[in-house]
Symmetry: C2
Subunit: 508 residues, 2 copies
Amino acid sequence: MLKVKTIDIDFGAVEVVLNHNDALEFGLNPHDRIRVKGKCGSVVAIVNTSESLIGEGEIGIFTEIAKKICVRNGHKIDYERVGKPESLGAIKKKLDGGKLSQEEIASIVGDIVSKRITLVEMSAFVAGLQAVGMDLDEAEHLTKEMVAAGKTINFEAETFDKHSLGGVPGDKTTLIVVPIVAAAGLLIPKTSSRSITSPAGTADRMEVFAPVEHDINAIKKIVNKTNACIVWGGAVDLSPADDALIKVEHPLSLDPRPLLLASIMSKKKSVGSNFVVIDMPTGEGAKIKDKKEARDLARDLIEIGRRLDMTVECAVTYGAQPIGDSMGPALEAREALNTLEGNGTPSVIEKATAIAGIILEAGGVAGKGKGAEKALEILENGEALKKFREIIKAQGGNPNVTVEDIEKIIGKKKKVIISGRSGYVTKINNKAIGQVAKTAGAPHDKGAGVLLHAKGGTRVKKGGALYTIYAEQGFKLKEAEALALKTKPVLVEGMLLEDIPPTFLGRH
Amino acid sequence: MLKVKTIDIDFGAVEVVLNHNDALEFGLNPHDRIRVKGKCGSVVAIVNTSESLIGEGEIGIFTEIAKKICVRNGHKIDYERVGKPESLGAIKKKLDGGKLSQEEIASIVGDIVSKRITLVEMSAFVAGLQAVGMDLDEAEHLTKEMVAAGKTINFEAETFDKHSLGGVPGDKTTLIVVPIVAAAGLLIPKTSSRSITSPAGTADRMEVFAPVEHDINAIKKIVNKTNACIVWGGAVDLSPADDALIKVEHPLSLDPRPLLLASIMSKKKSVGSNFVVIDMPTGEGAKIKDKKEARDLARDLIEIGRRLDMTVECAVTYGAQPIGDSMGPALEAREALNTLEGNGTPSVIEKATAIAGIILEAGGVAGKGKGAEKALEILENGEALKKFREIIKAQGGNPNVTVEDIEKIIGKKKKVIISGRSGYVTKINNKAIGQVAKTAGAPHDKGAGVLLHAKGGTRVKKGGALYTIYAEQGFKLKEAEALALKTKPVLVEGMLLEDIPPTFLGRH
C-alpha cells in the first residue's frame, strides 16, 4: 500500500512517481508499468522516480489520473506490476517493415486512447509510419479504428462537409463557405480545429462571433435549427486517438501520409459526412509543393473515402501566399464579416465561392459547372450573411454583431512596416508572416495579428506601407516587429531580379 | 521574469513546468522549447503546463536542472523562446530513408548528450535506426561521435578487453576471464554494466566482492597495480549518448543493429582497447538465434573495429540455457569464487577458459590453439584466484573473502521447486528463469536469485528438486514462487515427447 500525493502537471501520458529507494526495492525501473487501483477504477501507469518530492511509502499521481480513479492526497492505494502492452509488438512489426492486420491496428489505437502506451512509444509508431508507411488497407483500418474509438454524430439528411489541409495563413473561407451552403438548403455541420502552428484556426476565428465549444446534443440542436454549425472539434472527442497522436507529431514536425489520411477521414466519418470537398493549398511555402503531389494525395483521399462510403472531391487551390489580407482571429473575423456584407477581398470571395460551388453541385442545388456562380449569387444577395447570423445566434453569440463591434477588440498597439525600396511584392513567406502574427500574440490575444497592405504582384514605393502588425500588449508588438525586421516576410524587388555580367562564365 | 519552484522528479529530459494560463499568454505550447537562464549557466528546456502546482508567474524546474544552472526556490529567472534543434532535421532525414553525414550524426549525438532533444524525439531516432538502419559508414561515425562525446582512458601498454552481447542469465565468466588474463601479464581494464533486464550484470556480481564505482583516476591506479579492474562503466561516463539512448531502447524493447554496434564499440574504444573478444551467446532463448545471424553480426563488429583501429574477434557460444547453476549477485559471486578455488561448474570453466584463451593467444602469451589450455592452467594453479584477490583489494574490497562469507548474504528465505514427473530436463527458458530470480529480488536484493539443481539433459525423478529460489524478503519469495508455478521455466519431459494417434488425420 502506498500513500497518494497528487502532482498537478499535465502530461500526455499516464505516469506515476515513486520514491527512488522504493522503486529499487520493488525492482521497478523507470518506464516499467504498474496498475494502480483507485476507489472507482484502475489505470496502468508508467513509473518515474523522485529522491525527495515523493517520500518512501508514497506514490505521486498526476492530478488528471487521480481524478479519473477517484483518489486524493493521503489515500492508501495498491499497485501491481503489469507487462508491456501487446500493441508494442505491432509497433515493432511496423518498424521492421511488416503489414499490420486490422486487429493489430485496433490494439494500437486502443492502447493510445486508453493511454496504456507512452509518448515515447507513440513516437516510435509515428516514426514507423513515416519510415515504412502503410498501404491503403492499413490506412483504411486505421481510419475505421479511429472512428470506432471516438464519438459519432449522425444526421437524418445527406451531410456535406469541407476540410482544408491548411498551411496557408489567413484562410477564413470556411466562415463564408458554410453559410453559403446552409443557405442553399444543404446540411453542413462543420467541426474545425484551433490553431496549432498558425496565427488562427477556424475555431479561433469563429470564437470571435460565438462560443465554439458544444457537446454532441448541442451541435445537433444548432444544426437542426440552421442546417449548419462551426464548432471546435476538440470539444466533441470525435477522434481521441488522433488528438493524442498530434501531441507527438507536432514536436517531431512529422505528418506521415497514413496518419494524415486517417486523421482527416476519421473526423469526417465521425460527423456522418456523405460528401466532402478537400481544399489542398498548393505552391511554394504551402504544405503541398505542386500539382503532382496534390494529385497523388487526392487519389488516396478519394480511395479511403470510397472505402468508408464517403464521396470525396479534392480542390487544388493557390497557396503560395496568405488568403485575403488579414491574419489573427479578430482581423480575420472582420474580413469574413466584410466579405459576407459585400465588401470582400477578391481572393477570399473567389476561393470561398469555388469551394461552396463544388458542394452545391454535389448537392444538386446547382447544375454542373454552375456551382461557383450560384454560390456568388447567395453571397451577393445577402442570404449567406443572414444564415451566418442565424448560426451565430444558435451557437450563443450576438447575431447583430457589426464590423465596428469587432474593430473594438482589434489590438490597440500597432506598427506599420514600410518598404525599404520601390518595386514589386515578389513573395510573401507564409511561415514567416504567420510567425510575426503569432509573436504579436495571435491566436491567444484575439486582437493580435497582421494586416497586409500589399500582396504578391503589387507595386509599392519606397516608404510605402507593406503591412501593419497589431497587438494587445506593447512588449509583444516589439518582439513581433523585431522578428519582422529580421525575417522580412514580404519581399520587394525591382523588375530586374538579378544582373548576370558577362564575366559570369569566367571569360574576360 | 518567473519565480522558480523546484520539482524533484527524475526525468530523462530537461523539462520545465509553466502555469497553464501563462503558457497560453506567452503563446507557448506543450513541447515548445525555452532557454532558461540561471546564475551559473542556461539550459534549453521543454515546456509542460500545470493548472495549480505552478502558479501564474512561477516556473517549475526539475531539481537536477535547477542544480545545473544554480537556481533555487524563489529565485527570479528569465527565459527566451528557442527553435527546434537542427538534429530534428537529421532524424527526419533518416526516417525518410536518407544516409546521414558525419556532421548530421554529430548534431544528433550532441543534442542527445546535452539533452536538447526530448525522449519523444530520441524515440523517433531509435525507431528510424530500426526501420531504416545505417550503413557501416554511418555506424562508424555514430561510434566515433559517441566516443568523442564521452570521457576516454588510455593506457601505455597494449590493452585487451572482452564483451558479451548478453541475454543469457547466470553468465559470471567475466569474473574468471579477467583474473586469468591479468595473471598472464596482459592488461585488461574491464568496464561492465549493471543489470537492465537480467537478474545480475557483471557489475552487480563484482559488487559482492568490492566497490565497482570508481572514477578514471582510480581506475588507472587499480589497473597499474593489478593489470586489471572490474568496474561499473556507468560511473565513468564513457558514452553518455549511449546511456541516454538506452532509456528509450529499453521501454521500446528495440535494439537496432547500428546502435548495438556503436554502443559496444564506443565503450571499448573509450577505454583504449586494442584487442576485443566479443562473446555471442547463441541459441533458442538467447539474443542471437543461430550461427548465420551470429556470423552476420560478427562481420559488422569486426569491420567497425577495423575502422576504429581495434582488432575484434567474435566467439559464438552456446546460449540456450543459463551459464553455470546460479543466477543473482551473491549466488553467482559464490559460484565464481568456487570456480577460482577449483570447485567450478563445467560450463563456467569451459566458457571462461575458451574466451580467456582467445585473448592469451592474441597477446602472444599462448601459442596458436593453445590459449584455452594455458587459461585452464592459470585457473587450476591458483594464479587466477591470487590475481582476483589482488583486484578485490585494489578496488577496496576484502581480499581474504571466503565462500562462507558470501553464503552469509545469500537470502535466508528459500523454496525448492520440484518436478511433477520423472523424465529429462528438455529446456530451461532463459527469460522465464531470469524473471523468477528478478521477482525474488535480484539484483537489488543481492542475496536473491535461483540455484539450478538440474540442467538441460539431466534425468530427474518425480518429486526431485529442479531449482531453489532464494529471497531476502518473504513476500518476494511468494511472488517468485507463484510466477515459477505459472511460467514453468524448467521443462521436464519423458523420452516420448508427443504421441500422435492414428486418428490424427481424421480417419477412424
